[in-house]
């Protein structure tokens, strides 16, 4: 594999002050296979970034590293000014304001929509606090607001397990929103959705732009196009190309890895 990607990744986005997430030379290998190979990536505050790439390009692994699920073999992951995420565990990172939506929707099926959101709501995670927790007026307000943004208002008291696939995806996004995170990591938010649901999701995400920093991993090119955001192409664990949708579409290496052989 070429070393061009890294240089490429840097040149297209030189490090700026409002950088909120900064990955540098991150490598992860699972028994021999290099899932991430010196991946370097810079995300600016308030940016919407879509990440694409063929299977095994390392998209999900990248998210695992950011959220503390996987410890990188080498490299640094800096959040904000100087928080090294590689030193923290899942809960701590989540509490820093980095929310993640999983590829497979994981909402708490045995809780109601409302309760799912309540759990996610941003307040103390301390055991005894949760024991004594009372829903304050503005908690309720936030929950209602989120229910509206995710279009789940009329489902508030349904068991999450009873929701449709798309609704579960939205609920999970809602659970991230209500926690009011700095960064939202969305792994294949429209996988398995109908066209209609996909459109709605695209709208939802566009609405979030600016308020939050969003990183979206997706295969559905129509969807990526709809988002019309900056695109990063991963390949074999490192950045292959980065730029506007048109830029990457005409990028020869990209075309090669997608059609090639």
């Amino acid at each position: 594999m070429s070393d061009a990607p890294n240089g490429n990744g840097r040149s297209t986005t030189p490090r700026r002050t409002e950088t909120v997430l900064y990955l540098d030379g991150v490598s992860v290998s699972f028994d021999g296979f290099k899932a991430l190979n010196e991946l370097s990536l810079v995300i600016d505050r308030g940016e919407l970034r879509t990440v694409i790439g063929p299977n095994g390009a390392g998209k999900t692994t990248m998210m695992d590293v950011i959220t503390g699920k996987t410890r990188p073999d080498e490299g640094t992951v800096i959040y904000g000014v100087d928080t090294d995420l590689t030193k923290l565990d899942e809960a701590e990172i989540a509490n820093l304001g980095i929310g993640r939506k999983f590829q497979k929707p994981t909402v708490f099926e045995n809780l109601t929509v409302f309760e799912n959101l309540e759990l996610a709501a941003r307040d103390s995670r301390g055991i005894f606090r949760t024991l004594l927790a009372k829903l304050s007026g503005n908690d309720l307000a936030r929950i209602d607001e989120t229910l509206v943004t995710t279009g789940l208002a009329e489902h508030r008291h349904r068991r999450a397990g009873a929701l449709s696939h798309g609704q579960k995806q939205w609920l999970e996004i809602g659970m991230l929103l209500i926690h009011d995170p700095q960064i939202l990591l969305l792994d294949e938010p429209v996988a398995g959705m109908t066209d209609h649901e996909t459109e709605q999701t695209a709208q939802l995400i566009r609405r979030l732009m600016g308020k939050h920093t969003l990183v979206v991993v997706e295969h559905d090119m129509q969807f990526v196009r709809d988002l019309g955001a900056r695109v990063t192409v991963l390949h074999e664990g490192s950045v292959l190309a980065e730029g506007s949708i048109d830029h990457v579409q005409n990028h020869p290496r990209v075309i090669e890895v997608y059609l090639g052989r």
Binding site: F33, N55, G192, V231, Q249, I255, L259, R261
Partner: protein, 231 residues
């Protein structure tokens, strides 16, 4: 031949396959194309009974095998080279190969010499652990392992994924050879048009769990196919 007729497949509430119909003829290579996440692998898992379908038929040599267990389908002559190869990591190469004896009658339980002719590299490392092989070697092992079951339907799921070009050429050669033998139907799933066009007789393009194009390679507009695959 294989007739997949209008199958639907769900993961929980997620609708992964929507009325998908595919056919694969003996002696021909049918290639299913599509970006990842469009349901190609789901289709294969359905054909092999690793995922249960909600509706539709899976006809193999005229018989509906949708209700059969995977190992029973293997007995009927189906074999798969899965995505990611799924070599048994702690079995030796030889042991990996002879797992293919399971669906065979006693007298067939041997490793045909042709296997080693197709994949000479394997012969030299029969006692290595499958997990220690390189990606390319694993891919070859996976194909060899499938061939040992004397399949009449060979299913390959992205055999070129993460493989160095030299070995891709080998694999390409092997698949051509098998197709030429004309005793098995080959169902090849790919993301990469060029590789597919090299081999395919029929091309099926999937998008979002649906078949959007289907026909003989020659009849399809390559440009349009390209659009479905590229970014």
């Amino acid at each position: 031949m294989l007739n997949v007729e209008a199958i639907d497949l769900f993961y929980g509430a997620s609708h992964a396959l929507r009325h998908v119909s595919v056919t694969a003829d003996v002696g021909k290579v049918t290639c299913v194309l599509g970006r990842n996440g469009v349901g190609k692998t789901s289709l294969l898992r359905a054909i092999f009974g690793l995922q249960s379908i909600r509706s539709g038929k899976i006809l193999w040599e005229g018989e509906d095998i949708a209700a059969l267990k995977p190992h029973e389908r293997a007995r009927k002559g189906l074999a798969i080279v899965p995505q990611g190869r799924d070599i048994f990591p702690r079995l030796t190469v030889y042991e990996n190969l002879i797992t293919g004896f399971a669906p065979l009658a006693k007298q067939l339980r041997n490793i045909p010499e042709e296997i080693y002719q197709l994949f000479p590299v394997l012969k030299s490392m029969l006692n290595r652990r499958g997990g220690d092989l390189s990606g390319g070697q694993q891919q070859q092992l996976a194909i060899a392992r499938a061939l040992i079951t004397r399949p009449r339907l060979l299913i390959l799921d992205e055999p070129t994924e993460g493989i160095q070009p030299s070995i891709i050429k080998d694999i390409e050669r092997v698949i051509k050879l098998l197709a030429a033998r004309g005793d098995m139907a080959i169902l090849l799933v790919e993301q990469y048009l060029d590789f597919a066009q090299e081999l395919a007789d029929t091309i099926v393009v999937m998008e979002r769990g649906e078949v959007v194009m289907n026909g003989p390679k020659t009849s399809l507009d390559a440009e349009q196919v390209r659009r479905y695959l590229t970014v």
